[in-house]
Symmetry: C2
Subunit: 135 residues, 2 copies
Amino acid sequence: MVDRPALSKGEMEVARTLWEVGPATVREVFESLAENRKMDFSTVQTYLRRLETKGHATSKKEGRRRVYSARTRPRTVIRETVDDLVQRLFGGDTMPLVRHLIEDRQIDADDIFELKKLVEKLEQSADQSDKGKRK
Amino acid sequence: MVDRPALSKGEMEVARTLWEVGPATVREVFESLAENRKMDFSTVQTYLRRLETKGHATSKKEGRRRVYSARTRPRTVIRETVDDLVQRLFGGDTMPLVRHLIEDRQIDADDIFELKKLVEKLEQSADQSDKGKRK
DNA sequence: TTGACTGACGTACAATTGTACGCTTAGAAT
DNA sequence: ATTCTAAGCGTACAATTGTACGTCAGTCAA
């Protein structure tokens, strides 16, 4: 584990876009971002640079432009970010957050289905590891 | 809605403690916090002050000490914080986060039980209010 | 070849955040 | 009363973050 510095909010948005559009130039990221989020071209550039120094991206010159690629997967960043949040906000207790997500955010039918599967799977593995120490 | 400025990481920890120990003086918060998290007394003081200016706490002088009370409930802060996070990190899509929480974090038997209930309830209301309420 | 562009790169700079010191004063202990 | 202590309050200051400007160097269209 490398223990990268955490991503700031702005960096996250850029990182997300980088995941979405794959290895990309600053302009590509910039354009992909622009729809909803107004951010100056050079601001994006700065964020990408910072992502790189923080170890969350790499880049290589390709001709005269620089192409950035994500180095950490969404999964990893989620883990690092959410673990930290849960720690600070609930002292490590996961459930308040789960509760909030399920109750207060829109979850559509498909998601509910997936959720059921997830919980079932969770139940199973819990049963397993529980075996022998039941009281 | 008042749209308070978001809490920073440090502020969150102090806010959480304030929720836990109820209306409390700086020292009480400080001591409640000290266990795990080493933070200078005056740092706590500063955070409480900032919580107040951000509208997340109030205080009143009680004799010569100042007693702080939370003004926003955990629920609210969770919403504001998590919504923001989900927005930035997943463009508003909730499921990646739910998945992470269920799969990668320790959830004990009781929580699984609760989770099942939650999902069931969710299923029910989805079945019913299928015709146009929320977007 | 001369603009007009586009991109990289270095740099800037204000706001926010993390962390804490120091002065002042109201009560507590001697 | 004198001293000690704990609290408040103002202030400081470095690091990080949000945001962006200039400058210089390739590239293309006329």
